[in-house]
């Protein structure tokens, strides 16, 4: 059964880059949102297995969306995919319940590692 992946990022290019790094041998069902609020709504609608969340976005930023998602489902698996790798930013999202931070730009290796960590938790 394919895993539902929600990617929340305001950049279509960034979403494309991230999707291209997923292992081709596995089956994933991708869903995408362009800001934190749209991501939150889509999360409620589809109940993804794993959510990849950017931080710097219009309408609702990723940290706020992460906090809202955790209110909806405290067990939600959210990986923050961001260019903002300041120590305070990372510790903030970890405090909010992110599983980990994936530094941009993604690579096949970094995404594979993130998925291994997330899938170990999901299953």
């Amino acid at each position: 059964m394919s895993k539902k992946i929600l990617i929340v990022d305001d950049s279509p290019i960034s979403r494309k880059m991230l999707k291209s790094c997923f292992p081709k041998e596995n089956d994933y069902e991708f869903h995408e949102a362009g800001d934190g609020l749209a991501g939150l709504e889509l999360f409620k609608e589809i109940g993804p297995d794993i959510t990849f969340m950017d931080l710097t976005m219009p309408v609702m930023d990723g940290a706020t969306a992460l906090a809202e998602i955790k209110k909806v489902d405290p067990r939600a698996t959210v990986i923050v995919a961001t260019a903002d790798v300041q120590i305070k930013s990372v510790s903030r999202v970890m405090d909010l319940g992110a599983l980990m931070v994936l530094k941009k730009p993604p690579s096949k290796e970094s995404v594979r590692d993130a998925l291994a960590q997330a899938e170990g938790r999901v299953e």
Partner: protein, 213 residues
């Protein structure tokens, strides 16, 4: 007369915006690590415009500032152009204060004055260097830099040179707005690259995205 083909299409602008986002994230992390400030990032913005319109555009963007302080630095590689880091006047002193937090609680006024340029130089060097350097790295380029030029307490209308580019060329403006430590110190970083870089840039962006096909 330039061809429309020398300008960036929407997808190329999106790619460059994402690269800028990554680069500025790195710059912020470097700054946070080196001088213990937290930088609040905003979504970067890209605009391609005629060079002849550039001084007016820059002045319009900073129209809210009566006077400014600015770090200007030029860079050369395949990717070449100028970086302008612009704060409202007085921000240098505020940055000195922010960086002094947790250390000596009191600075003599004269010392603060003397430190303002040094602080702006340091912040400018880190932000511009990390940002331009990361863009160059991601696009497999290598750039060299001019020494930074610092303008303190100038009127915005005087600070931006009117003749920085060939009037017949185009310029790409990469703008981001940032805030330090959630305090009222915010500013703009503009990277302005020349038309002659755009042909190279388009190819470099295509090569960059091939990794993600």
């Amino acid at each position: 007369m330039e061809s429309e083909q020398t300008l960036l299409n929407d997808e190329e602008k999106d790619i460059l915006q994402e690269i800028m986002n990554i680069a500025f994230g790195q710059a912020a992390a470097d700054l946070a690590e080196m001088i213990n400030v937290f930088v609040v990032l905003n979504v970067p913005y890209i605009k391609v415009l005629k060079a002849v319109d550039l001084p007016h555009y820059l002045k319009t963007e900073i129209a809210g500032y009566d006077t400014i302080c600015m770090v200007e630095q030029h860079f050369w590689g395949e990717f070449k152009g100028s970086a302008f880091l612009i704060f409202p006047a007085g921000s240098g002193k505020e940055l000195v204060t922010i960086m002094g937090e947790g250390q000596d609680p009191q600075f003599e006024s004269a010392i603060v004055d003397g430190m303002e340029k040094e602080t702006l130089m340091e912040v400018g060097n880190i932000l511009i260097g990390a940002c331009v350097g990361k863009v160059a790295e991601l696009l497999d380029d290598r750039v060299t830099y001019s020494p930074p030029r610092i303008v303190v307490e100038n009127h915005a209308s005087n600070a931006i040179p009117a003749n920085i580019f060939d009037l017949h060329s185009s310029a790409i403006v990469l703008r981001t707005v940032f805030t330090f430590n959630e305090r009222a110190v915010s500013g703009f970083l503009f990277l302005v690259t020349k038309c002659e870089s755009i042909v190279w840039l388009r190819q470099a962006l295509a090569v960059f995205m091939e990794r993600y096909e």
